[in-house]
Each structure stands twice: as structure tokens, then as C-alpha cells.
Amino acid sequence: MQDPDAQDVAGAGRGDRAAAARLIARHGPKLLSVARRMLGRQGDAEDAVQDVFLKLWTHAARWQPGKAKFETWLFRVTLNACYDRLRRRGGEPLEEAARVPDDGPAPDSGLDDAALAAAVESALAGLPERQRAAILLCHFRDLGNVEAAEIMGLSVEAIESLLARGRRALRDRLAPLKAILRE
């Protein structure tokens, strides 16, 4: 099947600005949402997506349709850009800061949506980066395990293992909010 992006990638590589604009409109927002969930910071996510597109322009002229789906490549580059940024942050105690406190609000205390979203975001940010990436691809972007495995450069079994551990860890971290999330 023809890659729906193939023509625009080739066009952008030749200097066609309209083709580049179409690629940005089609992929920019979803890459930003994945990067934002991976990095936890809007500014970092925007910078990461900017880097991804610069890499895309550089490689567009050499892009060979049929070797890999363009979107798969794009997600892979995005995840790598996020991993790089997370490593550059170094010793920031992200996981500790992101943990939902055990003595937080009780399930029946009536958390508002924003507080609940913040708690979920913190719990997600506290997951190891590859578990977080697997969960984002499969649950957030609704990709299949096979495509997620291709994006992450892992076997399907490895993705399933990451997903199982990630889901369990997320559930443990959100245990105080279990009753609310069951509603």
C-alpha cells in the first residue's frame, strides 16, 4: 500500500513548502502530544518536535518509500529526541517528584478534573521511560503492539512485557484514586 505521506515527503525534500506545511499539519500536533506526555514539559516538547522536523527535512530528499512507514519513522525519531532530552536532564529526581503521595486526598474527597489529570500525569511521568513510551503508543495513540514494537525497535514480546509492567506500575501509583478512576 502506498504510504500516504510519501509524496509530501519527497516534495518537501525537493523544497516544496506546501508539502512541508501539509506534513506539519498532519503530524505536528500528535507528535507534540506524545512528546509532551514523555517529557512532562510543554517547552521541552515543542523543542523536541522542532528537532524532529529539522531531522525530517534533512532526510526527506533521501527518503525511500516502502522501506518503513513514514509515520513509524517519525514516532521513532520523536521518542529518541525525548530520550535524549530526558538523559540530558540528568539527575533530576523526576520519578520521586512524580509519585502520587500516599497521604494524598482520599478517593471520596472529590478531586476536580484538573487535580485528577495532574495526578495521572505525575504517575505517568514517574514510569520508566520505555514503559511510558509503550503505554503512550498503545493506549494514548491507539497503535497496535506490532507497530509500537517497530517504532521502539523491540520485539512484540518485549512490548507486551513493557506494557504489562507499565500498566501495573501506573495502577499501583494511582491506587489512592482507584475508586474515582473506576467510575
Binding site: G15, R17, A25, P29, F53, L124, L163, L170, L174
Partner: protein, 118 residues
Amino acid sequence: MNELSDAQFTDRALARLPAVSPPAGFEAGLLAGYDGWRARRRAGLAAVLAGAARGLAQLVWPGAPAWAPAGALTLALLLGAGLGAVLPGGLDRMVSGFSLDRTPGFTTLISSDGEEDL
């Protein structure tokens, strides 16, 4: 009580996250990045061509400034074109001086007493 699976729980938890909206100017910023890349690529191509021309100039006339071999080449081209214009049919006359159906004379190789000098 009906317990959610870990996968269902994850779906419900992630559904609580607000959508990430691209800020104003996000796509314009990415497109500006594209424009910058195009400009750098054009500048890069010009630099490659200029570098190749400089390299050729150094090969033809080492140590000379770039204008010298370029000037010499231009002068040679102008001279050639001028001569071509001033001497119409000159090449035809030169070609007609040779005839392939005549046996070449090797008189310079033969000594005056008729013996071969080789």
C-alpha cells in the same frame, strides 16, 4: 465487584488527561524551521560550487588569486570567438589542406642521395 483489568484501568486513567493543544504559532514555527533549512541548503550548494571553482583555479594556476585563471579563461574564450568570427571558413581551408586519398610524402626521412636515413 467487577474489577477492571490493568489495560482498562490505564485507558481510563489516560482518558483523564487533557488534550495537548499546540500553542499559537506552533505550526508556523515548524514551517519557519523548514524555510531556514531551505535557505541553508541553498547557501550550502553555492558554497560547494564556489569551493569547486576555487579548487580548479588552484589546480590551473597555483597561488594565483581566483580572478587570474578566470580572467585568462575568459580572455581565451573571447579570443577564440573573435578569431572564429573574423576568419569565416578558416577551419574549412585548413581541413582542405589535407587529403586522405594521397599517400603521405616522407621526404624529410629520405636523405639527399635517395637512401633511407633510418
